[in-house]
Symmetry: C2
Subunit: 330 residues, 2 copies
Amino acid sequence: RCFHFCKLPGRVMGIRLLRFTSVVIIVLLLVAGALTALLPTIKDDKLPNLRREPKTQSQSALDSFTLIMQTYNRTDLLLKLLNHYQAIPHLHKVIVVWNNIGEKTPEEMWNSLGPHPVPVVFKVQTVNRMRNRLQNFPDLETKAVLMMDDDTLVSAHDLAFAFSVWQQFPEHIVGFVPRKHISTPSGVYSYGSFELQNPGFGNGDQYSMVLIGAAFFHSGYLEDFQQQPEAVYALIDETQNCDDIAMNFLVAKHTGKPSGVFVKPVDMRNLEKDTNSGYSGMWHRAEHLLQRSYCVNKLVNIYDGMPLKYSNIMISQFGFPNYANHKNKM
Amino acid sequence: RCFHFCKLPGRVMGIRLLRFTSVVIIVLLLVAGALTALLPTIKDDKLPNLRREPKTQSQSALDSFTLIMQTYNRTDLLLKLLNHYQAIPHLHKVIVVWNNIGEKTPEEMWNSLGPHPVPVVFKVQTVNRMRNRLQNFPDLETKAVLMMDDDTLVSAHDLAFAFSVWQQFPEHIVGFVPRKHISTPSGVYSYGSFELQNPGFGNGDQYSMVLIGAAFFHSGYLEDFQQQPEAVYALIDETQNCDDIAMNFLVAKHTGKPSGVFVKPVDMRNLEKDTNSGYSGMWHRAEHLLQRSYCVNKLVNIYDGMPLKYSNIMISQFGFPNYANHKNKM
């Protein structure tokens, strides 16, 4: 018996109305269902105007790195290099340290030529200082920093490999340019490369620094750099040089081990000659190398000791570019 | 007053006797003293028949290594190689694992051609087993083992460098012969070298094993090897092969990292062809490589998983033999 239903006003009319309503509803549902089946299936390639979420932004802070590139008077090289570096695997963001005081950054032009694979931030500086690139930038979100000079092109293959090496040696400066200091009987140190005599630990050469103008290192070292004695900043400002030597001292002191791990580059190029600016870089100054020896000795005074340690480990990528590059004479 | 003395029989004669005795004694002492002054000063080079205390025996257990070399049917090569290896820097002792069952060791001849830079111990075996070299020899005093096949010559320079690398990576097998496994869609693994396809992690090749026939590793792993499942020993005995693959599995499981670190040799030679015995080594057997693939899969079953990990790190010595061997294109 239908007690509830049947209590509708107008018992006979109620039932008929109910049946009619039910039928209408069912018919409407069927029609709607049929219409749904006719809708086109939504596929990714049918949404061309929506930007794909950039993969790099979902990379964790451990699996990606931030490129910090300081630039002075070589904007043409900077832009060439940015086109190259913006597409390096595992790159999270680029920070351009703009040392062209009073000059507009190319940010407008950069934006007009978007979209770009990663964000690029232009940090306008107030004074043209070599150590501007060693600030503890709030924009830094990754554990790893890749620091490049604005005239140096390193291939993506080299960078991808060196980044993987850094991940295995995160407390070291992992890079492509090895240098060394040597001590002399007088106790005065000298700075140089392979043209200097070997430090004399067995055969072969040794390096005690890896320059930061083409290297990966832990972003924590930028924090540490802010805690150094004033004399270090004064030295770097006085010479407009040696920030990289100071960083190697810092890292060596921190780890008690050789500061750097040298990765032999397959394809690294200096683009200095390619600039229209006529500006060819600090290392061409006559006093450049003498300054660096001077810096080594000053830093030993400031830190009251020589923390740099030697290494002769040279790392290359197994089976690249030549798949039999490890073959021996056997 | 002289009470005790004077109680000697014959009082007057006693005193005269005493004085005379004293004078004689004093004169004798003076003469002896004079004779001592005339003795020649003892210098090292005046004692040609006394062996200098070998420097290696005063080396601490951390700064030296023990060479373990197993030998079968190639005593001529063994003796050639012993002459070379006995003089390697930082070598503490040599252990020769004598697999020539029932045959006398060359110990007598060895001793007759002494002195030698380091002690050499001949361990006579009762059964000719490949895994004899993986015993936990009580003669082992060093933390590091250098294991060499009895047909492999590696230069002193390479060994000295690789030993210094091992000291920086003591939990790894640091050696000169990289190999890899690859997995296939069927889940079956295959063993090989660079002729096999890359495992597909980025560009270049990868290795997942470093063979122990030319490598440094921690002596603790010989202890660990004694604790492995019986099935591992059975596998090695069945194939007379794969002890090195088993060691790589052991090390990878222990560290959770790639088992080996590959050091690219400058001068490594296979002396197989130089033997008079006509015996040319196990790896020439037709089934050798197939056995090794078989072993990889068996070990995965035994250990219930694949512990081997890939690496593409290739280490060379900075500035050796060519002092500019790190130069880049800049």
